[in-house]
């Protein structure tokens, strides 16, 4: 395996075998074969890309680097610019039917699954959301609307947070009379959700990514599962 073609390539200290291993893990994903067909170098994906306008980011680079199997630059992308992608899939305008956003989806999963420090750093401020999604099955909770979290969203956030309880009760659908969850999710549904996280190995991914979130999440899951006669440790990953 040759070295990077770039004289100023980063991550020279990382063994090429490790870069190759991660690269092959991306290529082994079942979605890989429908994400990349070649590249005309036309730049339509870059012109469509919101992230390309504000970051040092280019969807075309992903298509080209992956197509020419440049594992060194792949490793740079995996650690440096990948998290700038907006996942809007405007790049699927590609006349070659490439899906650079889809390549990045797979790369991100590989980075998270392997516990790369760059992934941990990128998701550091995001751990609360991971916890919310996995513990409740919903993400955007009404009580997130706090002026100290969204100071740039204007004075309406203050009004919502001050009147949260009564304004939530002043919404006609009864499922929406909630403040900590987007809607009222039944206990049985939460139980099934927890079983999916455990059975699918998703909980193991969280343990690799963020041990703190894993501990809190496990505790919450254990409590509900125990109430229903399950032992979290005995529910085996089956995939």
């Amino acid at each position: 395996m040759m070295g990077s073609i770039y004289a100023d390539a980063k991550y020279q200290d990382v063994p090429v075998e490790e870069k190759e291993r991660l690269f092959q893990e991306v290529k082994a994903d079942m979605r890989w074969h429908t994400t990349l067909y070649g590249c005309y170098e036309c730049g339509i994906c870059v012109a469509s890309c919101p992230s390309a306008r504000f970051y040092d980011f280019s969807p075309r680079v992903y298509a080209q680097v992956m197509a020419r199997e440049d594992v060194h630059t792949f490793y740079e992308l995996l650690n440096d610019s990948m998290w700038d992608c907006s996942q809007c899939f405007s790049c699927t305008r590609c006349p070659r039917q490439n899906n650079p956003g889809g390549i990045i989806t797979i790369m991100r999963e590989v980075a998270v699954k392997n516990g790369l420090q760059s992934a941990k750093t990128a998701l550091q401020a995001y751990s609360r959301i991971i916890y919310k999604v996995m513990s409740t099955g919903t993400q955007v909770a009404p009580d997130m609307l706090q002026p100290d979290f969204f100071p740039d969203w204007g004075p309406d956030v203050v009004k919502v947070s001050e009147n949260l309880d009564s304004w939530r009760r002043a919404i006609p659908p009864e499922t929406l009379h909630t403040t900590e969850l987007a809607w009222d999710v039944s206990e049985q549904t939460q139980l099934e959700l927890y079983l999916i996280w455990k059975l699918s190995g998703n909980l193991d991914i969280i343990e690799t990514l963020d041990e703190g979130i894993f501990m809190i999440l496990s505790e919450v899951m254990e409590e509900l599962l125990e109430e229903h006669g399950y032992d979290l440790d005995e529910v085996e990953v089956i995939i």
């Binding site: 999604v133 996995m134 993400q139 659908p173 809607w183 999916i196």
Partner: protein
């Protein structure tokens, strides 16, 4: 040798007379071929829309798509329910006004795609199992899924492709669902609520109470609606010559509003998942510089209408900080469901819950002929009844 041909140049065909008629084969596979094949092999159950309970619409390459009319299982959106509750309330209100039966379940989770498109802290098996648990629940409840969130809609269609093409994934998901005591069910169609609004636009128009002919509208088509599994989005030869999705623009036109175009219609709103929460400088910059300011300069609309959670949030909330920098912003942002409900006379605060939005929408309401001061007083009266303990919640009867 030169010759002179006696040809009268008819000139280019007028746009209104032009129609691109596709003669070639459809370039994408048809998911229903695999779906029904797997059903025939006994691998999956296909949840069908009842005969006589759907409207057929055209999709991008001319295939037909069935949109269920009623008996729908409302797969709610966490962003809509959490931060823009008038969005989902308006969808329910439209069903109630048109007299169509629906079910608002508590046995539903979100698609959990925040852990797919944002953090990637999940895997294909978990994501597919979440999708099919919801579909199985809808099937067991006896209602057909109607997806409120654009991302859930796009994600479920991507998941459908994975499920249909990968035996290994199907086996994994089946083993998980067996443990839950649920069948492996996939609906015949993945339907977004805005497709229902589009399909119902003539019925909505028939019940329209407000004149919107002087209301200038720009439309933002949601990325995860028309850029994921592109062939399944609604297109209509009468809208943009069939070259752009008709969803949302269809209802705006049907209601007689002044639909205006702008050059960056294909651009994303800037939501970006991670970005809207932890890198909002990016979301705000893109939303205001590439979308709102372009609309202002090119169309100067009274309102932006869109059809996804993140788009309403990003386009609306990003304008406050930009305004502080004297940028050319200040356009209210509503969902198509809210716009349609207002047109049919829905209460702007009890039903459409416009007080959860950021940009001042009072000038829009005045142009639509809505007395917002009276409406706000009516809403506050109900809130006082809740605070005093006279009523626990605002009921549909109170709102209608």
């Amino acid at each position: 040798m030169s010759s002179k041909l006696n040809v009268i140049n008819p000139g280019p065909t007028k746009a209104k007379d032009r129609f691109f008629d596709r003669k070639g084969e459809i370039p994408t596979e048809y998911f229903k071929d695999q779906l029904f094949d797997l059903e025939a092999k006994g691998e999956i159950i296909v949840h069908r829309i009842e005969e006589g309970n759907y409207v057929e619409v055209d999709t991008k390459y001319g295939r037909k798509k069935k949109i269920p009319i009623q008996n729908t299982w409302h797969h709610k959106s966490c962003g809509q329910c959490g931060h823009i509750p008038g969005y989902s309330t308006s969808i329910f209100w439209l069903h109630r006004q048109l007299g169509y039966n629906y079910y608002d379940p508590k046995d539903q989770t979100s698609c959990t795609a925040w852990n797919y498109y944002a953090s990637s802290a999940s895997n294909s098996a978990a994501q597919a199992a979440i999708a099919i648990r919801n579909f199985a629940q809808a099937y067991q409840d006896g209602y057909f899924p109607l997806i409120h969130c654009g991302t859930s809609y796009g994600h479920y269609k991507e998941t459908r492709n994975e499920i249909l093409h990968h035996q290994g994934l199907r086996d994994q998901v089946r083993r998980i669902l067996d443990k839950l005591g649920k069948p492996l069910v996939f609906p015949e169609e993945i339907v977004h609520y805005s497709e229902w609004v589009h399909a119902m636009r003539d019925e909505i128009k028939a019940r329209q109470k407000l004149d919107l002919s002087n209301v200038v509208v720009t439309v933002h088509p949601a990325c995860h609606y028309h850029k994921l599994v592109v062939e399944d989005a609604i297109y209509d030869r009468d809208l943009y010559d069939g070259q752009r999705t008709a969803t949302v623009s269809g209802i705006v036109k049907a209601l007689g509003a002044d639909l205006q175009d702008y050059s960056t219609w294909h651009d994303c709103c800037g939501f970006g998942f991670r970005h809207i929460l932890v890198s909002r400088d990016f979301s705000r910059s893109f939303a205001t510089l590439r979308k709102i300011e372009r609309m202002k300069e090119e169309a100067n609309p009274d309102v932006v209408i869109t059809h996804d959670t993140g788009c309403v949030t990003t386009l609306d909330k990003s304008q406050f900080a930009a305004k502080a920098h004297n940028r050319n912003v200040g356009i209210p942002v509503l969902s198509d469901s809210q716009f349609a409900a207002l047109a049919m006379g829905a209460h702007p605060y009890k039903v459409c819950q416009l007080h959860w939005h950021g940009v001042d929408n009072k000038p829009l309401m005045e142009k639509m002929g809505i007395d917002h001061e009276k409406a706000w007083a009516e809403f506050e009266e109900q809130v006082e009844r809740i605070k005093s303990g006279e009523i626990e919640f605002l009921s549909w009867e109170d709102a209608e």
